[in-house]
């Protein structure tokens, strides 16, 4: 128990020193703000709903993009996983697209869709489709061949072969890809907002910084940290319960 408290020492000390120092005369309060002001700005932002609205805009775009990526990634992943010959022909073209940094597509997405939800979601989808696609191909390849043989012997139709054999057998591993894509989607959504899309938490942070409201900016930054941390641990817990998804632990 005492060990868990140790982790609080450095952050709490930092905030206390920051607060104390901010009351000294030479402190640049206009640019750096102080913890008590940040708490007030955060409370106001929550009370008038502006922070929650921005949060929803960000999550909406992340989920929208993630949904597109999941549909495309699982669809093409299953096809390419079941047809290794096709994969060898198409694979190199896919590999050529993969190293393109997703953020390089922000201007292109802006050109096509203009500002708003669709351009943000398209960049999110491009960034998060890769882990889903690669994991799905690997998951479908790893399906016990006898299961596929049984499906053939039972003369299952294509649809029931997909939904009764292939997808249930591969879903455990696919969920690992979805989890990776999930954390990518939030990061990319915030990045698109910070760079140029005028909506969501990323944009309201930049707007707060540019309108000299460092208190509001820091409040939103802390909230974003809590959000990312919460989503991360929620996803971890949900997927740990999922049968067959032996999530490799990334922590030391």
């Amino acid at each position: 128990m005492a060990r868990r408290l140790h982790g609080w020492i450095i952050p709490v000390l930092a905030f206390v020193l920051w607060e104390l120092w901010s009351h000294a005369g030479t402190f640049p309060i206009d640019t750096v703000s102080r913890p008590s002001d940040i708490a007030v700005a955060g409370a106001r932002g929550f009370a008038d709903g502006s922070i929650l609205l921005a949060t929803w805009e960000t999550i909406e775009a992340a989920l929208f993009g993630l949904a597109i990526a999941a549909v495309l990634g699982i669809l093409f992943g299953v096809i390419l996983g079941l047809a290794p010959h096709l994969e060898r022909v198409v694979g190199p073209s896919i590999d050529a697209l993969r190293p393109v940094p997703s953020v390089a597509l922000i201007p292109l997405a802006l050109l096509m869709f203009g500002f708003g939800l669709r351009m943000e979601a398209s960049v999110v989808a491009f960034a998060s489709v890769w882990p889903i696609l690669l994991v799905t191909i690997a998951a479908v390849r790893a399906i016990e061949p006898r299961l596929l043989e049984v499906a053939r012997v039972l003369e299952l139709s294509f649809a029931s072969r997909m939904f009764k054999v292939v997808l249930p057998a591969a879903l455990g591993r696919i969920s690992v890809g979805l989890r990776i894509a999930g954390s990518i989607s939030l990061v990319v959504a915030v990045t698109v907002e910070i760079v140029l899309n005028p909506r969501g938490l990323g944009y309201s942070m930049i707007a707060a910084q540019q309108s000299l409201r460092p208190d509001l900016m820091f409040a939103q930054l802390l909230w974003l940290g809590v959000l990312g941390w919460g989503l991360n641990s929620a996803m971890k817990r949900a997927l740990d319960r999922w049968p067959g998804s032996a999530v490799p632990e990334e922590q030391p």
Binding site: A96, P101, V103, A104, I194, Q209
Partner: protein
Amino acid sequence: MNRLLRLRGVGAILFAATLLLLWQVLADFKLISPVFFPSPLRTVTELVRQIAEGLIWAPLVATLQRMFFGWALAALLGIILGAAIGSSRTARDYLEPLLEFLRPLPASAIIPPAILFLGLSNEMAITVIAFGAIWPVLLSSAHGFATIEPRLREVAEALCLSRRQLLVKMAVPGALPDILAGARVSLAIALILAVVTEMQASQPGLGQNILLAQRSLRSPELYAGIVSLGIMGFVLNHALIMIEQHFLRWRSVTA
């Protein structure tokens, strides 16, 4: 077998060529908007022009430099912090919860406070890149240092090695495979963040060029920028894989 492999290679090239050709034809006949999808030939012509006139080098070098400095800083700090967390229980207790909170934070979210403290400067960009790129190195270094073979510890004790000797002679080589793998992931993140900071804070580089091309609707230039960034990411990744293999030769010999 060899013939089959060659056949597949030809198939893969044919597939890619067909896609590009289809794109070229569709663009030539204006079936797809030449503003959104300029024909591949126009993109290549633009890229060749930029290389021939030497226009591409200044932004390319600026982006590479920014990425490299941020990455180097991240690697240095990541290895040191990771070593501390991996080899000392106390350091882990004090630092781990804080790092667990910071890690899921989108690196680009650091941009507004970074601008606040450092202005729209190169230092700001490098700080943001380092913050984002540190995590893979830090985690893999912590993991590498935490999992030193217990028998090696016993050997070190038997040889009466000091703590520093233990670190340099056993822990670092043991953690190296993990660290190098982490550094490769970090480099990809560093490239992304270099582009992000260039777009957001108007630092000169390929990222800014792409954005400017979009603003003036010069789409071949936009595509040329995206292609050069893709090639850059590809080359860097493979360069690091080669470095990894070079440094880890001893592993395949002993294994």
